[in-house]
C-alpha cells in the first residue's frame, strides 16, 4: 500500500463514478461470530460528494482497460486516458480497511472488459469470493455483471454478491447498437435473466431447506442514460415498468447524459447535463413504485415527455381536475396519495389521525403537507372553496410556477432532491 495504490485508486474511482447506483439497501444480515461486518436493510450513506451524491459503497473498477468502444463511456478503447488495474489483494485490502473505519457499507465492483466477457467476470468473481470465503467478510457487495457473461459465472457471482446489476444504458436496441457496436439488448437481457433465475431458484430452495445458499438477496438493478439518444420519457418509463414487473428487479436508475466524449458525431452536443429531466424521471419512477401510478397515466402519446416545469404528480392532477377536491376526512388512502403536496408520510399521518377527529389546516401543515400546493386539491372546513375546479388548471399552474421576484433566483443546476433512495 503506497503511492502506487493511491494512483490506481483515483484513476479507477474516476472511471467508475458515472454509474449512479451506490445503494447498499435490500439485505439485512446480522454480524456473525468470526466474520467482519453486517448489512443494514436501509442502505446507509457514509458520505456525500460535492455533487451531492451518496457514497455508500467503495465504487471502483477492477480495471478501466476495455476492448469495447461504447460512445457514451470515458473508458472506451479509443479514448486516450490513464489506465490502471488493481490486483485482487489490493482491492480486498482497500475494502476491508475502509470498512473497518466505517467509511463504507461495502464494495461495488465493476470493470472494463479485458480480453473477453468471461475472462473479466472470472477475475471479478475471484475478488468477491476471496472476500467472503477467505476474509470472512460479511458486509455488502454489489457486482456488475459483464454483458455477455456466461451463466456459470453469473451463477457463481450470485453466491457472493448481495446485488448484481447489468446496465441497459440505452433503452432502444437500435440506439444501443449504434453507440455501442459490441453490445445489443440481448447481451444485456441474458445475464439479467440468469440473475432472475438464480434468485427465484434460491428462494424456492430456501423454502424447503432453510440453509440453502442465498443468491443475490438484494436482487438486481440497472441504469439508463437519459438524453444521449432520442428516446422519449414514455419509451424510458415503459421499459422501466416492464423491468419492475420482473421478480428480482429492485431499482432502475436514470443518469443524465454527461458529455464525456464531446467530439463523437453520434452524440448530441449538450451544453448542460439534463438534470431536471433526470429528476423528473426519478419522480415518475417514485410515483410508479410507491404511489400507485401507472406509466401510461404519467406519460402517453399526447404528451410523451415529462413536463420540466412541474413535477409529474402535479401535472397529473392538473390534467385530472375532475378527481378533485379530495375530502381528507373520508377519502380512500390511495386518493389522498394523489394529492399534490401530500407525501407518503403525511398521507399515513392523515389516515391514522382522522379517526380521532377533525383535521385542521394547522395540523396538516405540521404533518408536513405542502399547503401551498395541496390547498387547490382538498376540501377542508377552514379553507375557502377555491379548488382547481373553481379556478382553472391553468391558473393553478401559473400560481404554482410563478417566480417570486424577491427570492434569490434559484440555480436550476442545484436541485434539492436528486437520487431518492
Amino acid at each position: 500500500m503506497n503511492e502506487q495504490i493511491q494512483y490506481k485508486l483515483t484513476i479507477l474511482a474516476e472511471s467508475a463514478k458515472y454509474d449512479v447506483s451506490c445503494s447498499s439497501s435490500g439485505t439485512t444480515r446480522k454480524h456473525r461470530p468470526g466474520m467482519t461486518g453486517s448489512a443494514e436493510g436501509w442502505g446507509i450513506c457514509h458520505s456525500f460528494t460535492e455533487d451531492g451524491r451518496c457514497v455508500s459503497l467503495l465504487k471502483i473498477m477492477l480495471s478501466n482497460n476495455c476492448i469495447y468502444d461504447c460512445a457514451y463511456c470515458v473508458n472506451r478503447r479509443s479514448n486516450d486516458i490513464r489506465r490502471a488495474t488493481l490486483a485482487v489483494n489490493e482491492l480486498i485490502e482497500l475494502t476491508l480497511e475502509f470498512y473497518r473505519r466505517n467509511y463504507i457499507e461495502g464494495l461495488f465492483l465493476s470493470s472494463g472488459i479485458l480480453r473477453n466477457a468471461d475472462y473479466t467476470m472470472e477475475r471479478m468473481v475471484r475478488v468477491i469470493k476471496e472476500l467472503r470465503v477467505i476474509h470472512r467478510y460479511n458486509g455488502y457487495i454489489h457486482m456488475k455483471s459483464i454483458p455477455g457473461a456466461s451463466r456459470e459465472l453469473v451463477n457463481e457471482a450470485g453466491l457472493y454478491a448481495d446485488r448484481l446489476s447489468v446496465n441497459i444504458e440505452i433503452s432502444k436496441d437500435e440506439n444501443l447498437r449504434m453507440l455501442a457496436p459490441e453490445k445489443n439488448h440481448q447481451s444485456i437481457f441474458k445475464p439479467m435473466f440468469y440473475i432472475q433465475q438464480g434468485v427465484l431458484a434460491s428462494a424456492d430452495e430456501r423454502k424447503r431447506f432453510r440453509y440453502a445458499p442465498r443468491f443475490a438477496p438484494a436482487g438486481q438493478s440497472t441504469q439508463m442514460i437519459v438524453g444521449a439518444t432520442g428516446e422519449s420519457d414514455k419509451d424510458i418509463l415503459r421499459l422501466s415498468t416492464a423491468l419492475y414487473q420482473r421478480p428480482s428487479m429492485k431499482r432502475v436508475y436514470y443518469s443524465g447524459y454527461i458529455p464525456v466524449n464531446t467530439n463523437d458525431p453520434r452524440l448530441p452536443a449538450l451544453k448542460q447535463v439534463p438534470l431536471v429531466r433526470e429528476n423528473r424521471l426519478y419522480q415518475a419512477d417514485w410515483l410508479m413504485r410507491f404511489y400507485g401510478f401507472r406509466a401510461d397515466e404519467i406519460v402517453d402519446d399526447a404528451s410523451p415527455n415529462l413536463d420540466l416545469e412541474i413535477d409529474p404528480k402535479l401535472a397529473w392532477a392538473l390534467r385530472h381536475a375532475e378527481a378533485f377536491p379530495v375530502d381528507l376526512q373520508k377519502a380512500d388512502p390511495a386518493l389522498i396519495l394523489r394529492v399534490p403536496g401530500i407525501g407518503l408520510k403525511s398521507a399515513q399521518l392523515i389516515v391514522a389521525s382522522r379517526r380521532h377527529g377533525h383535521i385542521t389546516v394547522q395540523t396538516l401543515a405540521k404533518m408536513g403537507v405542502v399547503m401551498k400546493k395541496a390547498r387547490y386539491f382538498i376540501t377542508c372546513r377552514e379553507l375557502p372553496l377555491l379548488t382547481v375546479n373553481e379556478l382553472h388548471p391553468d391558473e393553478v399552474r401559473r400560481a404554482l410556477t410563478e417566480k417570486k421576484p424577491s427570492r434569490k433566483a434559484a440555480d436550476p443546476n442545484q436541485l434539492s432532491i436528486l437520487f431518492p433512495e
Partner: protein
C-alpha cells in the same frame, strides 16, 4: 400553579409521574431542584428520585403503550430539548388517562410533537451511524470522536456493537464528555479523565497506527475522484451531510 422539582434524570421524571398520581396533584411546571421557584407557584413538591417507584411507573406505561411508543418517549428524553420533560409528562398523563390509545392522534399537539422530536433524535442516531469515522490506533483500538446535537450516541451503540463486533472500539461524545468502549464482548459507558488531546477530532500522530494516515488520505482522494464536476451541488451535499459533522471527516479535512 403547581410546581414539581426533580433532579432532571429520566428516573426522576418517572418518579414525578408516580408521585403526581399518588398525590392526585399534577404539576404545571417541572423544574430542577436548584432552580428558583417562579413567582406564581402556589405549591411546590420536591421529588425524591426512587428506583422502585420509577420502575413501577415505567411498567405501568409499558402496559398502556406499545413498545415503539415507549422507545419514542426515550428518544424525546435524549433530545435534551428545553421543556421536553414537560412535554413527556403531559404525554404520559394523557396516555394513562385516555380510555383508548392516543398514539395516532396527531391532531393533539403533544402527540405530534413527541413523534416529531423522536424522529429528529432518531435522525441524529442515523447520522452517527453514517458519519462516525474510526481512526486506528497503534494498539488496534478504533477510536471515533463525535459531537451530536441530541444525546443520540446510546441509541447508536447497538448498531456498532453488531457491525464491528470483531474489533475494539471507542466512540466518544466530546460535547457531553462520555462515550462507549467495546472490548469485543460488550459496550460499556466510559468517561476519560485526561481527554483534552481527544477533543480536537484527530488523534495525535504518535498514537496512530502506522497506516492510519495513508488510509485517511486514500479515502479523501477517493471521494474527490468520485465527484462529477459537471454536477457540482454543494448545497445538496450540506443538506445531506451537515457541516457540523465535517470536523470529524477525513474527506473534509
Amino acid at each position: 400553579m403547581i410546581v414539581f422539582r426533580y433532579d432532571k434524570t429520566f428516573e426522576g421524571l418517572l418518579t414525578a409521574l408516580f408521585d403526581a398520581y399518588s398525590r392526585r396533584e399534577f404539576p404545571d411546571r417541572l423544574l430542577t431542584t436548584d432552580e428558583p421557584l417562579p413567582l406564581f407557584a402556589d405549591r411546590a413538591h420536591t421529588v425524591v428520585t426512587d428506583a422502585a417507584r420509577s420502575a413501577r411507573a415505567w411498567t405501568g406505561l409499558e402496559k398502556k403503550l406499545t413498545q415503539p411508543v415507549c422507545a419514542m418517549l426515550m428518544h424525546v428524553w435524549l433530545s435534551e430539548l428545553p421543556a421536553s420533560d414537560e412535554l413527556l409528562f403531559r404525554y404520559m398523563c394523557k396516555a394513562i388517562n385516555a380510555p383508548a390509545s392516543i398514539a395516532t392522534d396527531f391532531a393533539d399537539p403533544d402527540v405530534l410533537a413527541v413523534k416529531q422530536i423522536a424522529a429528529k433524535v432518531s435522525k441524529e442516531r442515523e447520522r452517527l451511524i453514517q458519519f462516525v469515522r474510526f481512526q486506528k490506533t497503534a494498539c488496534e483500538l478504533y477510536f471515533a470522536p463525535v459531537s451530536p446535537i441530541y444525546n443520540a450516541l446510546p441509541l447508536a451503540v447497538p448498531h456498532f456493537a453488531d457491525r464491528f463486533a470483531g474489533q475494539q472500539w471507542l466512540i466518544y461524545d466530546v460535547k457531553r464528555q462520555y462515550g462507549y468502549y467495546y472490548d469485543m464482548q460488550t459496550a460499556i459507558e466510559v468517561t476519560l479523565d485526561n481527554n483534552e488531546h481527544l477533543l480536537g477530532g484527530s488523534l495525535d500522530q504518535t498514537l496512530m497506527a502506522a497506516d492510519e494516515t495513508l488510509f485517511q488520505s486514500l479515502w479523501k482522494d477517493y471521494t474527490r475522484s468520485l465527484t462529477i464536476r459537471e454536477r457540482l451541488n454543494p448545497k445538496l451535499q450540506r443538506q445531506h451531510m451537515p457541516r457540523r459533522f465535517w470536523r470529524f471527516l477525513p474527506e473534509k479535512n
